[in-house]
């Protein structure tokens, strides 16, 4: 395995993408994207719909061809059985043969994934209330997602990618997924890349956060560092401007005489004092807010 030391000491990178560009027709879906995915992390790939998350994952798994350098486990993943044998991609548009039932999907998975755990798969299927003999065509959107989750978790693949795994799942099952994911990750560590637009729900699970917007990487950082780094300052416009002077402002929102600024750079020791003095309020910024305030709609000022 290649060791390209980046920030995590001796761990290696499971996937590396450099200068990847992908266009469909006239549209650029990925624009000079570079990213590394470190071994044994839960890495979040965040961004709203159409930002390029799915395409990036498909590039990583050799499902689509793109310009640029792509390495997974040190090699190009396209048509590479050695690499793909260690990868499990749970896509939101995964198609199953019409005549398959849930149990056939699990049987196929047992054949195709080297590290498949059948007992674990059965237990998960029960937890997610998936009837073994239900035809895949008769599964609701939520059940299809659940099936994908079962396959992804039970595969024990060293690199597992979940693309929008929450679609159609109610809150209880989403919670179940997160609990099972954490438990599995703790007991059998592996590299997990998780894409979603439900940022707040998965925020605590992530160790690394990459935000994609319109095909470009806008944030790529340690999750905890990110949370610590941004602060929300709100109050009278002049006071907020005063506070943010000399600091990196990620985004500002204004409503008549009140404004709210998202400031990077983290809290400084005398910030509390300064805030009180100026009459502004300081609040932590959730990952969701951070992503929303630095991408797409808010930035462009457009109303959805």
């Amino acid at each position: 395995m290649n060791v390209v030391g980046v920030g995590r000491g001796e761990t290696s990178n499971v996937a590396e993408v450099r200068g990847v560009t992908k266009t469909y027709g006239g549209q650029t879906v990925l624009d000079d994207v570079s990213l590394t995915v470190a071994e044994n992390t839960i890495h979040g790939l965040l961004g709203h719909n159409g930002a390029g998350k799915t395409t990036l994952m498909r590039v990583l798994t050799g499902r689509v061809f793109a310009h640029g350098d792509v390495r997974v486990f040190g090699e190009a993943p396209v048509e590479n059985d050695g690499v793909l044998g260690r990868v499990c991609f749970v896509g939101e548009d995964q198609r199953y043969p019409d005549h398959y039932q849930v149990r056939h999907v699990l049987e196929a998975a047992a054949l195709l994934f080297r590290t498949w755990d059948a007992a674990y798969a059965d237990a998960l299927a029960t937890d997610f209330a998936l009837p073994a003999r239900r035809g895949v065509r008769k599964l609701s959107r939520g059940m299809r997602s659940a099936l994908g989750i079962v396959v992804g978790l039970a595969s024990r693949a060293p690199l597992t990618l979940f693309d929008e795994p929450h679609l159609g799942l109610d809150a209880a099952f989403r919670q179940l997924f997160h609990d099972r994911l954490l438990a599995e990750y703790a007991e059998h560590p592996r590299t997990i890349l998780l894409s979603t637009h439900l940022i707040d729900e998965v925020g605590d699970l992530l160790e690394r956060v990459t935000v994609i917007d319109a095909g470009r990487i806008v944030i790529d950082d340690d999750a905890d560092d990110l949370r610590a780094r941004a602060v929300s300052v709100s109050g009278p416009v002049a006071a907020v401007d005063s506070f943010t002077e000399g600091r990196e402002v990620l985004q500002v929102e204004r409503l008549t005489s009140v404004s709210r600024a998202t400031v990077a750079g983290g809290r400084r020791p005398d910030d509390t004092e300064l805030a009180r003095h100026l009459g502004v309020e300081l609040e932590p910024v959730s990952l969701q807010d951070l992503v929303v305030r630095t991408t797409g709609h808010s930035r462009r000022g457009a109303l959805r």
Partner: protein, 90 residues
Amino acid sequence: MPSTTELAAFHRINPATAAKGVHQLVADGVLHKRRGIGMFVSTGARDRLLDRRRSRFASEFVQPLVDEARKLGIDVEELKTMIDKTGDGR
């Protein structure tokens, strides 16, 4: 102390984050590691924590209380009466 894995599962957070939290507590002297056995709360940790919070009480709680009261037009005397009343009520 529960293990990092147990803490992570309980709080539903990434084990790496839980580990960072534990390391921070060790650095602060609240926890210490006994080789081969596990993490334990250090003796005197509770008292130290209480002391720390006491010294910050004024700036973290009292000052904001006074500021908020001032904003609402409640003077210090009124505030003192309120505190007495609330204190008695307990």
